[in-house]
């Protein structure tokens, strides 16, 4: 196990390195930040000054080299737009995004697994079919569209919830969190719901599929024959076996929730990383985009590592290094 983790960490560094190179190169191809950032009335002298100030007057490879040197000490560059360390700007907005992602995951797992379980155990009931049809709705409509519809319904028409923005925050271990208060939850509810809809549908469907497969297997019949109560059969035996692919998907989806938060945050004016990075992309604020990607990729790697470990723990047939059981 330790060797496995060590190897993963070594690979992680390689992955981060490649990611930074890809982003650097990619954004360089998109366009020249000076053209976007400098006031169009400015003359050449001003453009030249800006280029020097932002380090853009040097060849791109040299800029990358400077970035790498800084990265070893934790300095991921200074944002062109904000003039502050890029990492600081990202980390400042991270709690907001994580709040949404967390709430969305709770909603989608908390609602999705029970619904999927129900639909899988009673596949022929009308209510089950309704659940499945509803789940298709959840991922057929684009997030941005549903988001505005949610705002129109709950905020404009009914006036029950605020339309946009983040609620009041409190300081928790140095991070500003808004969802520990009722007021904060009111602001977070719609964007989290918007974000959760897609995953909710996926989890319902996957759970149901797994339940339908597993429910017919011998070990379930055996457990029933032994006289175990239904709740134990489902709660312990069935659930444990469907968790494996479910955990993979949840792991995957946690990452994509963060990626999709980009659109939801834009619509709900939620001041998180997603909104920041999309603005930065369109303004060619390269340091912020690079910092964001490194943070996100690192997060993905850690999530996948956790998932792999959980996988091995849940399924004795799986060995992490690929040897036969």
């Amino acid at each position: 196990m330790p060797a496995f983790i060590l190897r993963r960490l070594a690979q992680t560094l390689l992955v981060l390195f490649i990611t930074s190179a890809l982003v650097f190169g990619g954004l360089y191809l998109v366009g020249n930040p000076i053209e976007i950032l400098v006031n169009p009335a400015a003359d050449e002298a001003e453009k030249a000054r800006a280029a020097v100030a932002l380090g853009l007057d040097r060849p791109v490879l040299e800029q990358y080299w400077i970035f790498l040197k800084g990265a070893t000490t934790g300095d991921l560059g200074t944002s062109f737009v904000f003039g502050r360390p890029a990492l600081e700007v990202i980390l400042e907005r991270m709690p907001a995004t994580l709040e949404l992602a967390f709430l969305a995951m709770i909603m989608s797992v908390g609602i999705g697994v029970p619904l999927g379980l129900y639909a899988g155990l009673h596949p022929h009931r009308v209510s089950s079919k309704a659940i499945m049809a509803g789940s298709i709705l959840g991922f057929s409509l684009p997030t941005f569209w549903v988001g505005l519809l949610l705002i129109m319904l709950f905020a404009v028409q009914l006036g029950w919830l605020p339309s946009t923005g983040r609620g009041p925050t409190e300081d928790v271990f140095g991070l500003s969190i808004s969802i520990f208060s009722l007021e904060g939850l009111r602001y977070a509810f719609l964007p989290s719901l918007n974000l959760a809809l897609f995953k909710l549908s996926l989890i319902i469907r996957l759970t149901r599929a797994q339940v339908r497969e597993q429910a017919l297997l011998d070990y379930i019949r055996f457990a029933r024959a032994k006289g175990l109560p239904r709740s134990r059969v489902i709660g312990v035996h069935l659930l444990k076996n469907i968790m494996i692919p479910l955990v993979t998907v949840i792991g995957l989806e946690l990452g994509s929730v963060i990626a999709f938060a980009i659109v939801t945050e834009s619509i709900f004016a939620w001041p998180g990383m997603g909104k920041l990075v999309i603005d930065s992309m369109f303004q060619l604020d390269r340091p912020v985009v690079v910092a964001y990607l490194l943070v996100v990729v690192l997060m993905f790697i850690l999530i996948n590592l956790t998932v792999d470990i959980l996988y091995a723990a849940l399924d004795p047939r799986v060995r992490l290094d690929g040897t036969r059981a």
């Binding site: 003359d43 050449e44 006036g159 923005g165």
Partner: protein, 520 residues
């Protein structure tokens, strides 16, 4: 819950100023440092806390700010008489020293992506002849110095000499002379301010203001309708009709200083990159070199249809670079009439009786309805014989490519910060000269010696009337006669607010909380 609050508030109209005014902006600010980034939202926000020497009113006419009066002593010297008795937010007195220290700071802000140095560069020497008199000497005659200085917010000497950008963002350095004092700033989310009781100018109607940043336009309108904010800027054109019929909402609008126009490749002798013949093969000749082709394009476009259908009335057809009410404009140029037959004749005269093919490039996230305007233009051009394709891209890509002169026909816009005609003329139609700062956005590389001559003499003529006439002559030649670009329309800026408040709409598109007042 909300309706009850509104009833209570309406009843308590006597204590209007005690309420908090919440306004939603369309573009987030990037810093509170007034000299860090020469960006519209930043500049607008800084004017709440700080004042410049010269202010611009809602028509962008110059008005006294921290300077009560100014005059040109001679061609290269300006004298500014400063206002007495002005106090900084921390209680200390304002004087000429503060201005000099500010001017020293402006070109030296670290990491600035776009500094205000262009406004202070003409100043060779700044001298305080007494505590409230300032003499500024320029290298060459620079008639627009007061206009430029209206964009430079003044800081106290102590702050100007020691503050860093972070100090402004945290609030430590936010000591100004402006109508509001700093309370809170959460990056990307909100700015909160409270009224400055000692302000030298008219007292704002609202004691507390909360600005929120809501970039998505539909969400912004929803926030207004839901009552989460009392006022929004940048109302999308598609919602104007509905909002004007809504009893809860008032609208305020003004023709802005932003022109939307088409630039054509007048620079290349031949082989313009996206010009083809009708079969789609690249054309060797460059039709855009011929002013008749350019004029034909202008005649082919039904500006009224674009204004009514695409912009839903939120635009004014344009015949030159700035609305006629602004200084330096021509009283003779009118928007080109929709004349498809005349266009066809001109095209035939120029040697293209059957037209040709071209691609129109446009940004899709920069100007109001930019992509849709481009599509409408393409529709008109295609009907007129110039088969046009539209290629829309994010502005990050568009401006980079445009500056590399990769386009043959492009749509762009220009907002005149100085409020007068030399700004668009020199950036869009002057012959490109990087070191002199002329033609910096002249992506069609239009060039005419006569226009250049008129423009250069205008830029060094101190007398306002004479300068105005020269600029009018320049634009009449460049646009009216030679069609260096095809003006389409001026954008109209619209603000929407809940009933009970009004706003003096501005041509420079700024949203100022201190100009919001209760409706009579």
């Amino acid at each position: 819950m909300r309706p009850i609050i509104f009833v209570l508030l309406a009843l308590a109209s006597g204590s209007v100023s005690a309420q908090e005014l919440s306004i939603a902006l369309s573009t987030p600010i990037t810093s509170l440092d007034p000299h860090f980034h020469n960006l519209s939202p930043n500049n607008g926000m800084s004017k709440h806390f700080f004042d410049p020497l010269v202010k611009q009113d809602e028509q962008q006419h110059l008005r006294p700010g921290l300077a009560e009066s100014w005059r040109a002593v001679d061609d290269t010297t300006w004298e500014f008489k400063l206002r007495k008795g002005v106090k900084w937010h921390d209680g200390s007195d304002f004087s000429a020293e503060d201005v000099i220290a500010t001017f020293k700071r402006v070109p030296n802000v670290p990491n600035s992506p776009s500094s205000l140095a262009i406004y202070t560069r003409p100043i060779k020497e700044a001298v305080a002849t007494d505590k409230y008199t300032l003499r500024l000497r320029t290298e060459r005659p620079y008639p627009l110095l007061p206009n430029d200085l209206s964009g430079v917010q003044i800081l106290p000497k102590k702050v100007a000499e020691t503050a860093r950008t972070e100090d402004f963002n945290s609030g430590k350095a936010m000591i100004g002379t402006g109508p509001y004092k700093f309370v809170e700033y959460v990056s990307g989310d909100r700015v909160v301010m409270t009224v400055n009781d000692k302000y030298w100018g008219p007292r704002p109607a609202f004691a507390k203001v909360r600005y929120r940043m809501i970039s998505n336009s539909a969400a912004r309108v929803a926030a207004l309708l839901a009552g989460d904010v009392r006022m929004i800027e940048g109302v999308p054109t598609s919602d104007i009709e509905r909002l004007s019929k809504d009893a809860r909402v008032t609208l305020a609008s003004a023709v802005s200083n932003r022109i939307i126009y088409l630039h054509m490749d007048s620079g290349r002798e031949r082989n313009s990159p996206f010009v083809t013949d009708l079969a789609g093969k690249p054309l060797e000749a460059n039709p855009f070199r011929d002013p008749r082709v350019r004029k034909a394009i202008s005649k082919m476009i039904d500006r009224d249809a674009i204004v009514s259908r695409i912009m839903e009335g939120q635009a004014k057809p344009a015949g030159q670079l700035l609305p006629e009410t602004m200084s330096g404009t021509s009283k003779r140029l009118k928007p080109e009439k929709y004349d498809p037959d005349g266009a066809k004749k001109l095209l035939a005269e120029a040697g293209y009786p059957n037209g040709f093919g071209v691609t129109l490039h446009t940004p899709n996230n920069r100007y109001i309805n930019d992509e849709r305007v481009a599509q409408a233009v393409a529709q008109f051009l295609t009907r007129g014989g110039i088969v046009t394709k539209v290629d829309a891209m994010p502005s990050a890509v568009f401006f980079s490519r445009g500056s590399k002169l990769e386009f043959s026909l492009l749509l762009a816009g220009w907002g005149a910060e100085t409020g007068e005609n030399s700004s668009p003329l020199r950036s869009l139609l002057a012959t490109f000269d990087a070191t002199a700062g002329m033609g910096t956005s002249n992506r069609g590389r239009f060039s005419d010696a006569g226009v250049d001559a008129l423009l250069s003499s205008a830029l060094t003529t101190i007398d306002d009337t004479k300068r105005g006439l020269m600029l009018a002559a320049a634009v009449e030649k460049a646009v009216g006669e030679l069609q260096g670009l095809v003006p389409l329309h001026y954008e109209v800026s619209t603000w929407a607010m809940r009933k009970g408040i009004t706003y003096r709409a501005r041509t420079d598109q700024y949203t100022f909380a201190f100009e919001v007042s209760p409706a009579k």
